[in-house]
């Protein structure tokens, strides 16, 4: 650094950096762990909340959105390819570690749900992280988990009577909780200054 002057770049390049810094890895992991704890708690209230919805069982899918949050939130916050899968898979693993009613298969769910969110970010080529991308990632994440759910657990049930409404409710819930609430959460975090090492904490979309 002898005699050298480093000036802050006025116009930062818009092309995203694809390599993962340590802070990207650890922050994504922390998001995964934090949502793992949320999953654990949500698993416990799920039964209670789902009970009054039993008059129309597919309606319980409106509670699914919470499980799709880590992938979408991590993607919006860290903005790296793979962040959604890493955070979502880890969240599932942590909920398993704390005791999950779904067993080892939950890891598969975590990865698939993360991949679902990832598709949303891939479709916008990891370049925009505003409302459009948040909603899109919410939709793709919701679709991923409802396909998995309806073919694994509810394969016997009717297509129009169960599978379609289940998918619709899951996607709606995912858009609302993972997409809209997720982006609001990232922006609220940015306002606290906690995201100063991330592009999502510096720019205003």
């Amino acid at each position: 650094m002898t005699g050298e002057v480093t000036r802050p770049t006025a116009a930062r390049s818009t092309a995203p950096r694809r390599t993962w810094r340590t802070v990207d890895i650890v922050t994504t992991a922390v998001l995964g762990v934090a949502f793992g704890v949320v999953f654990w708690a949500w698993n416990l209230v799920f039964g209670v909340l789902a009970a009054p919805l039993d008059f129309f069982p597919p309606l319980s899918a409106v509670l699914n959105g919470v499980y799709l949050m880590p992938g979408v939130v991590a993607g919006l916050l860290v903005r790296k390819p793979g962040a959604a899968v890493f955070a979502s898979g880890l969240a599932a693993a942590v909920s398993l570690l704390l005791g999950s009613p779904y067993g080892g298969i939950i890891i598969v769910y975590g990865l698939v749900q993360g991949l679902g969110g990832e598709i949303g970010f891939l479709l916008t080529r990891y370049r925009s992280f505003g409302w459009g991308t948040a909603v899109l990632a919410g939709v793709t994440a919701g679709l991923s988990t409802s396909i998995l759910d309806t073919s694994l657990y509810y394969a016997d049930l009717g297509f129009w009577a169960y599978k379609v409404p289940y998918t619709v409710f899951t996607v709606l819930s995912s858009v609302l909780l993972a997409g809209v609430v997720g982006l609001l959460l990232v922006r609220a975090l940015a306002r606290t200054g906690a995201l100063s090492s991330f592009a999502s904490g510096r720019s205003r979309v």
């Binding site: 762990v33 704390l98 394969a155």
Partner: protein, 253 residues
């Protein structure tokens, strides 16, 4: 609740001597077989064998068994009830689906009860070429869970000092919980940045290929363990075919 949240080093139990990747392989085998079976006999046989593994996982005390399994029992009951009510195949099929949930979940319970996360990460990076930086990043983040549990209580009390209290109003309760969660998340994300700095200060981003101080060794018994899992599945499916109940589905079909 706190018992299941203890994320420190795991006690040494017989199942700990099986390499985590062998356990994972066994889990994959059992999971694939159960996912493709919709009858009652296959999961019944698998669950029966799994029940014998509780002592090997160190889960002998009824309390520890209950703490580890009650969430999955709740899940199994709800799946069973939904299918009993909405399915067209009757009570036996619903019981089969509930047993399937139990059979899918128990191996995970055993893995968690017998395996230290550090050993799991070592095994994944050494044997399955899982990227080491991500595995270590996950371990570092896991360390924060007990801290979050302690901070939760502090933040909850702090709300009261500001005049905020939910009382019996459920909406206010949810808002209070969300607020606490947000405060914890801000703290966790800040801590993640500081942790990343400290990790880089010890050369985490040096670009040098990491070595592994503990290593992870695969032994003959790991092979036997996987073979045993395959055998159990073969027996379960054979029993099901002989009983005339075998009803395979294929994922997505």
């Amino acid at each position: 609740m706190t018992a299941s949240l203890a994320l420190g080093p795991t006690p040494d139990v017989p199942l700990s001597r099986v390499n985590p990747v062998a356990q994972l392989t066994a889990i994959v085998v059992v999971t694939l077989v159960l996912l493709t079976s919709l009858d009652v006999v296959t999961p019944a046989v698998v669950v029966a064998v799994e029940l014998c593994l509780f002592p090997a996982a160190g889960l002998t005390h009824p309390r520890s068994v209950w703490l580890r399994t009650w969430p999955l029992l709740v899940g199994a009951t709800s799946v069973g009830l939904v299918n009993l009510w909405l399915g067209e195949s009757g009570a036996l099929a619903a019981l089969g689906l509930a047993l399937r949930v139990v059979g899918l979940a128990l191996p995970g319970v055993f893995l968690v009860a017998s395996t230290d996360p550090v050993r799991l990460a070592d095994a994944l990076t050494v044997h399955w070429r899982f990227p080491a930086r991500f595995a270590v990043g996950a371990l570092a983040a896991l360390r924060l869970v007990p801290l979050l549990v302690v901070e939760f209580e502090s933040v909850r009390l702090a709300r009261r000092t500001r005049g905020v209290q939910a009382g019996r109003n459920p909406v206010a309760r949810v808002r209070l919980l969300a607020g606490i969660g947000f405060t914890l998340l801000v703290g966790a994300v800040r801590r993640a940045s500081r942790l990343a700095t400290a990790m880089d200060a010890r050369g985490f981003d040096s670009g040098v290929v990491r070595t592994n101080a503990r290593g992870s060794v695969l032994r003959a018994r790991d092979g036997w363990f996987v073979l045993a899992a395959v055998l159990v599945c073969v027996v379960a499916v054979t029993a099901s075919v002989l009983a005339g109940t075998w009803d395979p589905v294929f994922v997505g079909g």
